[in-house]
Point group: C2
Chain length 410, copies 2
Amino acid sequence: MEILRGNAVVGQSGGPTAAINATLAGVIRGALQAKGEGFINTLYGMRNGVEGFLREDLIDLTEIFSDAGKLKTLTTTPAAALGSCRRKLKDYETDAETYARLLEIFKKYDIRYFFYIGGNDSMDTVMKLSKYAANHDYEMRVVGVPKTIDNDLVATDHTPGFGSAAKFVATTMKEVLRDVSVYKMKAVTIVEIMGRDAGWLTASAGLVKLSGGIAPDLVYLPEVAFDPEEFLASVNKTFEDHPAVLVAVSEGIRLADGKYIGEGKGATDAFGHKSLSGAAKVLEELVKERIGCKVRSMELSLTQRCAGHILSKTDIDESLAVGAGAVSAATSGRTGVMMTIDRVPGESYSSTVGCADISTIANEVRGVPREYINAEGNGITEAGLAYLAPLVMGEVDVEYENGLPKHIVL
Amino acid sequence: MEILRGNAVVGQSGGPTAAINATLAGVIRGALQAKGEGFINTLYGMRNGVEGFLREDLIDLTEIFSDAGKLKTLTTTPAAALGSCRRKLKDYETDAETYARLLEIFKKYDIRYFFYIGGNDSMDTVMKLSKYAANHDYEMRVVGVPKTIDNDLVATDHTPGFGSAAKFVATTMKEVLRDVSVYKMKAVTIVEIMGRDAGWLTASAGLVKLSGGIAPDLVYLPEVAFDPEEFLASVNKTFEDHPAVLVAVSEGIRLADGKYIGEGKGATDAFGHKSLSGAAKVLEELVKERIGCKVRSMELSLTQRCAGHILSKTDIDESLAVGAGAVSAATSGRTGVMMTIDRVPGESYSSTVGCADISTIANEVRGVPREYINAEGNGITEAGLAYLAPLVMGEVDVEYENGLPKHIVL
C-alpha cells in the first residue's frame, strides 16, 4: 500500500461527554505514532468543529501534547477541549461554496487525514466530506469517531462516553435511593435522565438493582408508549412494599399518540431537535393531583454528560482505543468509515475496535430493543442489565488540584 | 471522676449528608473503645431518630460492627444509615407525656449515653433532653454531633458534611464550566444550590476560581439582598469577556423586601421551613425576557447532599473524629454539649475537636459573613475562598461493587 503523507486535523462536535477528550487523547496518541511511521507530520486541532475549521482556527496538537502528563490530564477532562459546534454541513448540491472553502483549507494545510469525533450529526459530516473529497480528486482519509452519552449510534455495540455517563447516572440513582429511604413517609421521587429518542441512559439507572439496591422501582423509556394510568397504578402498587418510590424517566417519554410528556416546554435547536425538559415535572404534578403524597422531581441535567470525576474505566480505555484506532484505520487506507466497538461474544466481557461504512450509520438511531424492557414497559430485563453492566465497570484515577479534579484548557 | 456505666444509643436526624454515616462510624468506634474501658456495654442505634426510639426500634450496633470492614463501608455510605426523622421534641411543659415515655425507655434499656447526630433542629432535641434528664434525676449524658451541608451552626468552625457537599458542588460547577464553554454562542447557565438562609454551599462554587477556572462569573447568596437589575447588568457586562456566563445562586436568595425569588413554589415543612424551589428558574425567565439570549437553569437538587462517591478527606476524617470525640466527651462527664471542629490558627490548615454548651447553639443560624462576599454582592472574596479551600481538600478511596459505590444498608 502506498503511504499517504501529509497533515491531519481532528475536531469535536455535538454535545459534550466525559469521554470525548479521552478519544481526542487517543487520536493524538495515534498521530504521534503515525508521525514516527512517516504518515502524519502535524496533527491540527480545529476549534469549535467545522465552524472553526472554516475560520482556520487551528492549533498544533502534536506540539502541545509532546508532554505525556498533559495527555493524561486531557484524558479525564470532561467536555470537548477543542470546543464544539452544532453546524451540520448542507448537501454539496445546495452549498458548493462551503465545500470549495473547505477544499481550499485542506490544500493550504496539506490536510490528508480528517478525524471527526461526535454523534449522529457529526457522522453525517464525515459521510459528506468523504464523498466530496473522493468526487473532487483530493486524496484525504475521513474517519468518524463516535461519542455520545445517548448510545444511539448503529453499527457499534455501544458508544464512547456512554459508559461513564451510565456510571454517573446509576451511582446517582443509588445515592438518591439512600437519600429518599431515610424517612418512613410515603414519597415519590422522579428523576429525569437525558435521552430524546433512545432510553439507554435511563435504562442504566436499572443497574442499581445489580448491587443490592431495591430501586429504581420504575423505569420509563421513550421506546415504549407512556401510559399515565399504568404509572399511577404502579406507584400505588409499589407503596405496598416500601414507602419511598424511586422512578427514572427519559426526557423523551411519549404518550401513545406520540406526544412528548414534557412537550410544552420544548424549543427547537439548530438540527430541528426539540429541546425537552419537564417530563419529570409533569409526572410530579400528576402524582400530586392523583395520589396526593409527597412527591419531588429532579433533572440530572448537564451533570450527567460532564461528570469527569466519576469515569468508567471500560469506557475510558475504549475511548482511547477508538481514537488511536481511527488513526491506524486511516493510515491503512480506510476512509468514509466510523470506528466501532465490537463486543466479543463470551462469558466475560471484552471488546475490539472495528470500523464500519459511514453510509450505513449516519442519521440512523438505535433504540433500546424491546427484549431489554420488561413486559409492563416499566423496568429493565436481566438481558438489558447484562448488556449494560460491563460498560460501567472499573474506576479511573482522576488527578486533583486544590481539592478539585484537574482539567486542561486548550 | 466516677465512671458512669450503662448502655448508649445513637440516632440520626434531619436531612441526609454524605458524611453523616462517617460520624456514626466515629461514634461506633468510640463506643467500642469505651466498651473496652468499661463505660459502655451496648451501643444501640435508633431507627428514624427519636421517632423510632419512641417505638423502641433499636438495633445493636456493637454487634453489627464488630467487623471492621463493615465500619469502613459505613463511613462512605451516604445518607443516614439508621434512617432519619423530622420530629422536633416539643417543650416539656406542653408534652410531658412524650418525655415520660422517653424516660421509661431510657430506664428499660439502661441508656446512660445519648448521642444525636443532626443539624439545628437536632441540637434543640439535645438541649431539651439534657435539661430533662438533669431535672428528673436520671443520670444520662446527652451529646449532640453536628452534621449539615448548610454549614450554618454556630460555635463550630464548620460542620461535618459541609466539606464533601462543597467538594461536589465545586467539582460540578467546574465540570459545568467545561460543558458550557464548548460553544461560541452567548449563553447563560444558572445553577441553583441548596441553602435556605445561609449561602455557604453556594459560596463553595466560587472555589473553581482557585484552580484556574474563570467561573462562576456570578455568585448570589441569601445573605445579600438580590437586585434583579444588578444581575442583568452583570450578565451583560460578563458577555464583554466571554460568551458562556455561569451563575451560582442559593435557593434562598431574596429581594430587598425579604421576598424569596422562588417563593411562588414554596410549601411549608414540619418545622415551618419553606420548601423552596425555582430561584434559578425565575432568573432563567428573567434573562429570557430581558436579555433574550440562550439560557438554561438547573438545580443540583438531592445529589449535592448524598454524593458519597466524591468525598472530602478533610471532611470524612473530621466527621469520624467528632463522632469518636462525642463518646470521649460523654464518658469524661460532658452533657448538654455539641461537638465542634475548631480551626487551629496558622499558615497551614489543621483542626481539633472541641465541644460547646448546647444552649448557645440550638436554633441559632450562622450565615456567611459580609467580608466573605464582595462589595457588589455577586462574588466570593479571597478571605471567603481561604476559609473554604481547606474543607474540600483530599480524596477518599470509595469501595466499588459491580461498578457502583458499595453501600451498607442497616
